[in-house]
Symmetry: C2
Subunit: 189 residues, 2 copies
DNA sequence: CAAAACGGAATGAACATTCATTCCGAAACA
DNA sequence: TGTTTCGGAATGAATGTTCATTCCGTTTTG
């Protein structure tokens, strides 16, 4: 039951951090949105920074797990691996879109601690390995991995924002189209 | 001379906003980096929000001007128009990389006023028109314009960060490669 | 020397955090 | 079973700090 309260606080903070950023969110805002007293937050988290770092590490961890779950690691087919990454990114966005948006907008925060940076590095390494393997096999363009990842990342974040804003409807064709656009961006033709 | 001091303040604020975000940057930080007294900032800007909005509007304006400068508006060749956009984006990043990074990270700020949002809308409209024209001609994929723009945007922002961090050297081949990757992402094959 | 520009200490508001107190369900008791 | 005691969870007013902004004595300018 007390686990529940902790989660209520985390969820409220997540939403506010996505909307206003870490520095733009006050502890009273979080306590109000969570429907708890301000002091209660400090029963679960040492301070505001510990709260954001917990959120960051849990989000990275869950996202990376989702990506790795069922990943065809030993496959020689880069396209198949890419399809998996795209599919699981969509899956995670459905499970916890705010966490994905939060990750995207807080990766460079000055408040992230060593553990958060390390967790993020693991995610980054996973994606880098995919890119580098593809480059070694001359399937993926010899461009900076950062830039290639940013292309895909940007596409999926923007896509989700469009869907969330109701500007567009999510259909299998749309998802397939975005996946293909991204694949065409990173692969050698 | 007073114009110069105003610009020193704007430049210092720009760098800090890129590094730490608007809410994470304090006025004393800005005054120290600018080498002026805290009070001096208020001789040039009504308050911190006016400062960030000035910066935002000036950056959007300059960037849009750069994009429109020499734009082959009447051309039927979408590829040529895209090349121009890509080239001018690079040009602007060389002139004022921080402004580009600032724009990228502050477009959703809760502190932006009506004028800033309107200015940003103009930039967005310019890019949307390019996308929509291309979609009408069946040259560009029928995906959400937001997502397509985010792909290109993400690529160039990440590219510049790599170059800035010294992880990679800027060469004509690199720029051509990124441009082609982005074009392949948005065009119909 | 008058006027404008400047710096940085002073101010009050808003913030993160603390802590004395309340609340509540469970256990002990009768 | 009805009553009392207990302990930890929860609270929000109080605290000290940090911030944006103001104010005024000093410096620069013309």
């Amino acid at each position: 039951m007390s686990e529940t309260k902790r989660e209520i606080i985390l969820e409220a903070a997540l939403v506010l951090f996505v909307e206003r950023g870490f520095d733009g969110t006050t502890v009273p805002m979080i306590s109000e949105k969570a429907g708890v007293g301000a002091g209660t937050i400090y029963r679960y988290f040492e301070n505001k920074e510990a709260l954001v770092n917990t959120l960051f590490q849990e989000s990275v961890g869950e996202f990376l797990e989702t990506l790795q779950d069922g990943y065809p690691r030993t496959s020689e087919d880069l396209r198949e691996q890419f399809r998996h990454i795209a599919k699981q990114t969509i899956r995670y966005s459905k499970k916890n879109l705010n966490a994905l948006l939060f990750l995207d907008s807080h990766t460079n925060g000055h408040y992230l601690d060593e553990a958060s940076r390390a967790a993020y590095m693991k995610l980054r390494t996973f994606l880098f390995e995919f890119i580098e393997q593809g480059q070694k096999k001359k399937v993926i363009r010899p461009l900076p991995a950062d830039a290639l990842i940013a292309i895909v990342d940007g596409a999926y974040i923007a896509l989700n924002k469009c869907i969330m804003a109701g500007e567009i409807e999510e259909t299998p064709e749309l998802l397939a189209g975005v996946e293909e656009a991204c694949w065409d961006a990173i692969r050698i033709h």
